[in-house]
């Protein structure tokens, strides 16, 4: 009797505590999540630092998990190439013939340019440095369009650097960890890129809307734009260097101009991070931030 009674008492004491702990856990973690959301909206740098630390930590696992995906991608491409080899060969022969004419033209212009530059005492453009990195995560989910690459501060990646792939603009670096970085894609709703219509020279802003076709805005009303016109970065605002191909005008309807990006997102397995650098060269390693540097 005594034993039975004491057991009930112990359980009677422990159970309410467990229930209260459970209730507190729900409330506590809910409040913590809410506080984190509010903090991540503020300029407090702690949140991006925690984020980059977590991503840096799990990046080796992401890299390992990526290996079968990459093998699958290569296998798919091999099969695709096998069936397309004849048509591709034919196309490349035509292109080669056309490009050979351009080679002669380029050589002639090169000589002419060198002569003219020598006459004008021309100061040449600063050299562009670049780093090629692998895409380890495509977070281009439904709400946030970004990718993670396996290069960070250790590879001299810095905030704001432009990212391209196969000659087309991908986006820019918005978070830098030690071993990984986040690239905000040009199609993200937060992305605004000053661009120029190559044929007319008219300037506009390319505004991402989380869809695969961003919009061109603030284009002069009388601009003679038509589908297929190439759009390049204008270099205004100092974030993106001028002249990077962005895409072609896809559709014009009811004043809404959409753009077909040059980059094929599904084939984005690697990315090139350009450093046009205000100073023209990368800083020596000792001047690079020791810890992760992040920005929104």
């Amino acid at each position: 009797m005594i034993k039975r009674g004491s057991k009930v008492t112990v359980i009677g004491l422990v159970l309410p505590v467990r229930v209260w702990a459970q209730r507190f856990a729900l409330l506590g973690f809910f409040t913590l999540s809410f506080a984190l959301i509010v903090f991540s909206r503020s300029d407090w740098t702690g949140i991006p630092q925690i984020r980059t630390t977590i991503v840096d930590t799990v990046s080796p696992i992401l890299y390992v998990l990526n290996q079968p995906v990459e093998a699958l991608s290569n296998a798919t491409m091999s099969v695709e190439n096998f069936f397309l080899v004849y048509t591709q060969n034919h196309k490349l022969r035509d292109e080669n013939a056309r490009l050979l004419q351009w080679v002669h033209e380029a050589r002639r212009l090169g000589v002419e340019n060198a002569t003219l530059r020598a006459q004008l005492a021309y100061v040449p453009d600063k050299r562009t440095h670049f780093v090629t990195a692998r895409v380890v995560a495509d977070t281009g989910g439904t709400f946030f369009q970004s990718i993670l690459i396996n290069a960070g501060a250790q590879e001299y990646i810095r905030l704001g650097q432009a990212v391209v792939w196969q000659g087309g603009l991908v986006g820019r670096i918005v978070e830098v960890g030690e071993r990984t970085s986040r690239v905000l894609l040009m199609i993200d709703i937060n992305s605004r890129i000053p661009v120029m219509i190559q044929s007319t020279g008219d300037r506009a802003i390319l505004k991402g809307d989380n869809s695969s076709r961003p919009r061109l805005e603030f284009l002069p009303g009388n601009s003679p734009i038509s589908p297929g016109d190439w759009v390049v970065t204008s270099g205004h605002g100092g974030v993106y260097p001028p002249g990077i191909a962005v895409g072609a005008v896809a559709q014009i309807s009811d004043g809404v101009i959409t753009l077909q990006p040059m980059v094929e997102w599904s084939k984005l397995s690697q990315a090139i991070i350009l450093d046009y650098g205000v100073n023209g060269i990368l800083p020596p390693p000792e001047r690079l931030p020791a810890s992760s540097n992040t920005s929104k």
Binding site: L32, S40, V58, V69, A137, T142, F143, R182, S266
Partner: protein, 174 residues
């Protein structure tokens, strides 16, 4: 020295963290750059499937702390506001724990329909929070397709979990 109890204890620990590890892997798998056009936009929410399954059958192995941490991991990788998926997962845990008595022991279709509801609530919550955070009404077509893909894929992944549970983890209290 008898090492058997230590080995057994270690084995028990490993088995107990298996649901957490599987959900962790599913969070990462959801963000791999698959070479399929538009897949990233409509990728199924693998993590929700794992979370739901283990919350129904082994809630003791998925406490709030673990669920919160998995949400934080997803926030860090996805670039979402820090705390968004953590909050969604916390709500999902509270909801599933509260309603699991209506799911356990019922036919599979009940389990599946309940998952459809849970995934819809999670999707709607994420969409609302992301839209409020970004100050814009975000597109709904891609999340809807992702939701349909998640619910369609559920039986396959649930079957895998069922095998793991039967052969390795066991039922609650076992």
């Amino acid at each position: 020295m008898n090492t058997l109890p230590i080995i057994l204890w270690l084995k028990r620990c490993l088995v107990n963290i298996l649901p957490m590890c599987m959900t962790f892997l599913f969070v990462l798998i959801g963000y791999l750059p698959w070479p399929i056009s538009f897949f990233a936009e409509i990728a199924p929410a693998f993590a929700i499937i794992s979370l739901y399954y283990w919350l129904v059958f082994r809630p003791d192995l998925m406490p709030y702390f673990v669920v919160f941490s998995l949400g934080i991991l997803q926030d860090a990788i996805s670039g979402a506001p820090f705390g968004l998926y953590a909050m969604v997962y916390i709500i999902i845990r509270a909801l599933v724990i509260n309603q699991r008595r209506f799911i356990i022991g019922k036919p599979f279709w009940v389990f599946w329909v309940a998952f459809g509801l849970v995934a819809s609530i999670a999707g709607l919550l994420s969409w609302c929070l992301a839209s409020i955070y970004r100050g814009a009404v975000l597109p709904t077509d891609a999340p809807l397709i992702a939701l349909i893909m998640t619910v369609t894929l559920f039986p396959v992944i649930a079957w895998i979990f069922l095998q793991v549970q039967r052969k390795v983890i066991g039922t609650m209290g076992a």
